[in-house]
């Protein structure tokens, strides 16, 4: 890897891996532009600085910390971490998985334009989000998802989903298996043809508006 640094989402926040092979000044300058671009991306998430394999003078270190703390919002804490990617990272991931089980159907994404929902939505459960929604699970009949943007169901979509609720006709719906009760995009409503025989094999499909109608097509790989 030739990038000055990489970022990773971990349960505790965001892990910032600094590349030991890149001179620290280069790292700093690209970090600067990154944090500027990120805006309030890191808001509500803590930053973990991974300095594994880096030899650094204490002055330089202080400088780096000071610079990062300034660039992120005051709610974000900056920590040191020495995760080596292969081993300790696994332990961290294990914790991450554990943590996620206890907060099913909760927002785990730090970025506020997409909401990630882990777990199946059952009848009567509803998810609403102003931007995109990703469901890692099924959407059962009687469950509803409404999103200002796109909806991606990584599972069977059998309930009602409405993408582009505020009128965005470019919004799309995609699912591993698209057998919804009803789909809506912007102001258009569509339901699957009646008496269609059940398909058992998963077949990823997407739905979008074309020439004023909702079109459903198989996703080609």
């Amino acid at each position: 890897m030739n990038e000055p640094f990489t970022t990773e989402m971990i349960a505790e926040g965001v892990l910032l891996n600094i590349n030991p092979e890149i001179p620290l000044d280069n790292v700093k300058s690209s970090l600067e532009s990154h944090l500027e671009d990120a805006g309030d991306f890191y808001r509500g998430a803590d930053l973990y600085l991974n300095l594994k394999g880096i030899s650094i003078e204490s002055d330089e270190l202080q400088d780096l910390i000071g610079f990062i703390s300034q660039s992120v919002s005051s709610e974000t804490n900056v920590y040191f971490s020495s995760h080596s990617r292969e081993e300790e990272q696994k332990g961290l991931n294990r914790r991450l998985i554990k943590k996620d089980r206890t907060r099913e159907n909760e927002e785990v994404s730090f970025k506020d334009d997409t909401r990630l929902v882990r777990g199946t939505l059952r009848s009567g459960q509803a998810v609403e989000h102003p931007h995109n929604v990703v469901i890692l699970g099924d959407v059962n009949p009687g469950a509803e998802v409404r999103a200002g943007g796109d909806i991606l169901v990584f599972g069977k979509l059998m309930g009602l989903v409405h993408a582009g609720v505020r009128g965005d006709e470019d919004a799309e719906i995609a699912a591993l298996r698209l057998t919804p009760t009803q789909i809506r995009i912007a102001s258009k409503i569509s339901r699957p043809p009646e008496n269609e025989t059940e398909r058992f094999e998963p077949r990823p499909e997407r739905a979008f508006i074309e020439t004023g109608r909702i079109i459903v097509e198989e996703i080609d790989f």
């Binding site: 009567g124 339901r191 009646e194």
Partner: protein
Amino acid sequence: MQGKSIVITSGKGGVGKTTTTANIGAALALAGSKTCLIDADIGLRNLDVVLGLENRIVYDLVDVVEDRCRLEQALIRDKKTDNLHLLPAAQTRDKEAVNEEQINEVIEELREEMDYILVDSPAGIEQGFRNAIAGADRAIIIATPEVSAVRDADRIIGLLEAEGVNNPDLIINRIKKEMVDRGDMMDIDDMMEILAIDILGVVPEEEKIVVSTNRGEPIVHSNNSRAGQAFRNIARRLEGEELPLMKLEKDSFLSRFKKFVGLS
């Protein structure tokens, strides 16, 4: 036009309120009456599924009372019978989302257009039940031949009377001739002795009902079903016709064979 409003209720769950509502509604509509079914089971709606109309829902009862749409926008026309309409419940809300007054207003508005308004009540005696009986001219009680169902039906009759809905009618659902004959099931007389209300019909247990509700096609559309016949008879009695109760018979191969060759 001043339509009649009828609530279908039971107290106990799982005795067949929704199936009965769908079938009586379809039978009334088939006979030419403009009929509207209201699903008052907010949060656990089923009537749309039993009628096979789930995927046509755009607006629901809660949208109507919260003024997000006009009443006629929320009405779904049945796919089989033109005269039949459904006002579906919301699934992602709960019983407290509407109150008695609001339901009453909806029913008053529907009376102008419809001959019959059937309200499918949720199980229980809480807010959902109170909503369902608001604005009802008469009530139909569903009970299966079980002590617990009869006990709950009795309680419901008392509650209805307290609310001023008098003289409810009884439908005995899921009766099994063989079990009654063996003395293993309450018979009609046992039930009438406790409940002492007018009987509107007796519906035999039938496996085909399960198939029909799963398919979303009420059994009254089927001509070779005893249960379907029972529901059609109930609709005719509601229209004021005097009809004797259907004779119970065993659904055995012999009886089917006799029927087939015209012996019974």
